[in-house]
């Protein structure tokens, strides 16, 4: 391992997210064999909006996955010491960090506006004659290459042109490859390619120009805001998917068994979800997170590096969100199962003496899959939004872990400054809004395709 110059680190959330990807791929692969669901999926993807939103979601998921490949870099051996032992950096790096090419390492002292050359706040410094004056200090990582500060915007334009050329060249390769493979397909792939081109150009431009300027400025601690916003993607995507993954088995098992077995099982399940939903959700979540925090604080020895502690809190939050939010899906599945188990083919299966487990697996479960699917996509956007609120309340993601909620929380009073510091909020807003909007629009399409009721409503109007 030492030869490689890095040591892979597998955080618990990384392991879970790759497990999730494998589960989802097998799930969709199995769905492909079912002609009915294939029809419905092709309905989703034959619309341009479906293609666009799906591509956007995939871009976010892809960035989240790249940000989940963690490793610790090997440190250069100390001066003058001959040793075969390799020491590793305490800081955990991800593949995404490498691809962003040091964007997160270009710190300033404090706030600076987008594309600014000077700091946002005055600081003490000495002028040429050795007198102390208060003035705006030059930034360390912006516009260093400029001979004349007044030529800044022209330089930005020049850099943009270069970056766009590289971006277009890259997209030409990627899109050209897909075009060769998917030529003549009935689906509107061109919509997806347009999004891919836009995303690639934007990313290339962002990475390239970040070498010379802070595109979205820096925050109070001097970190690049664009970098923080991108790092928030992993947290948002993972929280949205992992929590749903925790919630699904509980909701499906309880809901199906309540609707199928009826009697006392139904009573118990109904009692459970009424009790749970009668507790104000935010209080239950807050209380659980606080209790877990107390537990972490009292057992600090469990975690060897700080990142693991933040990661443990993150996973706990996913579990808590999952454990407290299964009641509405459970109710839906119970109602649907009640309806299905009255249908003729289930009755016939009973009459033929088919076992319970076979009826459940063969006849009931496949017919509630659409509810699960719709909930999965719908809940995803709700959870991304909830993360911001929870982090604001102080029971969300660990502050050391980048997330949009933490960015908003840190910047909530910045607009009331004079002049206002607007870029941190803008960065978080922009990246969060695109993801949630894409997920919401996509979930609408999925619901139209899979929910027979909403389908009929549409055709009649």
């Amino acid at each position: 391992m030492g030869e490689l110059g890095f040591k892979p680190v597998l955080l618990w959330s990384d392991a879970l997210v790759f497990l999730l990807v494998i589960v989802l791929i097998t799930f969709f692969y199995r769905l492909r064999n079912d002609p009915q669901s294939r029809d419905r999926w092709s309905q989703v993807f034959s619309s341009r909006l479906g293609m666009i939103t799906f591509t956007v979601i995939m871009v976010y998921v892809g960035i989240a996955l790249l940000d989940s490949l963690h490793f610790r870099q090997a440190l250069p051996p100390p001066e003058g010491v001959q040793t075969n032992e390799v020491f590793y950096d305490n800081k955990v790096t991800s593949v995404l960090d490498v691809m962003l090419d040091g964007m997160g390492d270009r710190f300033e002292r404090t706030y600076s506006a987008p594309f600014a050359l000077k700091s946002f706040e005055k600081s003490n410094m000495s002028d040429g004659q050795g007198n102390m004056v208060r003035d705006y200090d030059w930034l360390t990582h912006a516009g260093q290459h400029l001979a004349d500060p007044s030529g800044k915007w022209l330089d930005v334009l020049r850099l943009t042109a270069i970056a766009l050329m590289w971006g277009l060249a890259l997209s030409a390769v990627v899109v050209g490859l897909q075009w060769a493979l998917l030529r003549g397909s009935v689906y509107p792939w061109y919509a997806s390619w347009a999004v891919q081109t836009a995303v690639m150009c934007f990313m290339v431009w962002l990475v390239y120009i970040s070498h010379y300027y802070h595109v979205l400025g820096t925050d109070q601690g001097g970190t690049d805001v664009a970098f923080q916003s991108i790092k928030g993607i992993r947290t948002g995507v993972l929280l949205g998917t992992l929590s749903t993954l925790v919630m699904l088995p509980i909701a499906v098992t309880l809901g199906v068994s309540a609707g199928y077995f009826k009697g006392w099982v139904d009573d118990v399940v109904q009692y459970l979800y009424t009790t749970l939903s009668s507790i104000p959700g935010i209080l239950l979540i807050a209380a659980s997170v606080l209790l877990f925090q107390v537990y972490i604080d009292l057992n600090p020895d469990f975690f060897s590096i700080g990142m693991e502690k933040a990661d443990a809190r993150f996973i706990a939050l996913c579990f808590i969100l999952g454990l407290t939010s299964w009641s509405s899906l459970c109710r839906l599945i119970r109602a649907e199962t009640l309806k299905i188990s009255q249908l003729g083919y289930v009755q016939a299966a009973h009459a033929f003496g088919v076992s319970h487990s076979r009826i459940l697996g063969r006849h009931i479960l496949p017919n509630v899959v659409h509810i699960i699917l719709i909930t999965f996509v719908l809940d995803f956007s709700a959870l991304v939004l909830a993360e911001a609120v929870l982090s604001y309340i102080g029971v969300g993601i660990d502050p050391s872990m980048g997330s949009w909620g933490n960015m908003i929380n840190g910047a909530r009073s910045e607009l009331s400054r004079e002049p206002a510091v607007w870029w941190t909020l803008t960065g978080a807003f922009f990246f969060m809004f695109i993801l949630v909007l894409a997920a919401n629009l996509f979930s609408d399409l999925v619901r139209d395709a899979f929910d027979p009721r909403s389908n009929s409503g549409r055709s009649e109007t």
Partner: protein, 325 residues
């Protein structure tokens, strides 16, 4: 009717017991009072004596379920479970960790919460229904599709941005209202204007979209076609036929929320500095005051159950065919 309500109230008891057991497990079994004391005191001051003192002061020095040292009935009552959890049923919330009487706090802070939540709720529903009716009038046109897109976009904006943006624009840039604060005696409406506006605007996306779906479902029914065949105008179809028939699903969605209005809104109240129950809960969460959180959980579940009963009662009013028995 009365018999029905009484029966529903009796059904509520096991649910409240369940809520109580769950919170008790969370607060005292998962985390022992010792852990709580340690985190309340802070790392520096944790000594066995300090923990004992803290527990005695706050009444956590008793056994959890059964007190062996006491005799008779008090072996059951002189326990943490009885003093901290069972007493909630008698609305005896005790004192917060900082020593204030929770019942008094709740009853004074309820009113500012209501002053924000009630107008936001009523105006919000009115605005949403109006917008939805307007969109339904243009159904199956480009305008309708764009309206849905706008609704989904509005839904995709975090609530925090509505608040921050509203404060920035209305209070800071245009200087129409104070940024935050609340004064029940001096022009309280001035302080309420912005919070109510923000809640209403932030709710339009999901609200109007939901009402639109309900109205569209009704608009596809046979009676609408019949009405149109008779020559009824579009306006009268919307207001006389569709709206009353959509009342049942509307009521299902909103009546259950009415009692919970007392709880206020966590975010609105904390951003606008309104001394209601929402900011009370937020402060309790931030200072880890579990006595308050416990009491609020209990109050919240009672209000939710009342909401469920009110929903059933409202059905009999909206739909004469429904009889409660």
């Amino acid at each position: 009717m009365l018999a029905y309500i009484i029966r529903r109230l009796i059904y509520a008891i096991p649910i409240l017991i369940g809520v109580n057991l769950l919170t008790f497990t969370l607060f005292f079994v998962v985390n022992s009072p010792d852990d709580m004391a340690a985190s309340q005191l802070g790392d520096k001051y944790v000594t066995p004596e300090a923990i004992q003192n803290w527990k005695r002061k706050n009444g956590y020095d008793k056994p959890l379920f059964l007190n062996d040292e006491a005799s008779g009935i008090s072996s059951l009552t002189d326990t943490i479970f009885f003093t901290k959890s069972v007493k909630l049923f008698a609305f005896d919330f005790g004192r917060s960790e900082s020593g204030r009487d929770i019942t008094t706090d709740v009853s004074t802070r309820m009113w500012p919460s209501l002053a924000v939540a009630l107008p936001s709720f009523a105006i919000g529903i009115w605005v949403n229904i109006c917008v939805a009716l307007m969109v339904v009038m243009f159904r199956a046109t480009a305008l309708d599709r764009w309206a849905v897109f706008v609704f989904v976009s509005l839904m995709s904006i975090s609530y925090l941005f509505y608040i921050i943006g509203g404060q920035y624009l209305v209070a800071k840039q245009w200087m129409l209202v104070p940024i935050s604060g609340f004064d029940p005696d001096f022009q309280p409406w001035k302080f309420l204007l912005l919070p109510v506006l923000v809640s209403v605007v932030s709710g339009i996306g999901s609200g109007a979209r939901w009402y639109r779906t309900l109205f569209l479902e009704e608009a596809g029914q046979d009676y609408v076609r019949t009405a149109r065949a008779k020559g009824a105008s579009e306006i009268s179809i919307l207001f006389k036929h569709i709206l009353p028939n959509a009342l049942i699903p509307i009521l299902t969605g909103i009546v259950v929320l009415i009692p919970s209005l007392f709880m206020g809104s966590l975010l609105i109240e904390s951003f606008f500095g309104i001394p209601g129950l929402g900011s009370y809960m937020l402060d309790a969460i931030r200072s880890q005051d579990f006595a308050i959180v416990r009491s609020m959980v209990f109050i919240g579940s009672i209000l939710y159950i009342i909401g469920l009963i009110l929903t059933d009662i409202s059905y009999t009013w909206a739909d004469p065919r429904v009889r409660l028995s």
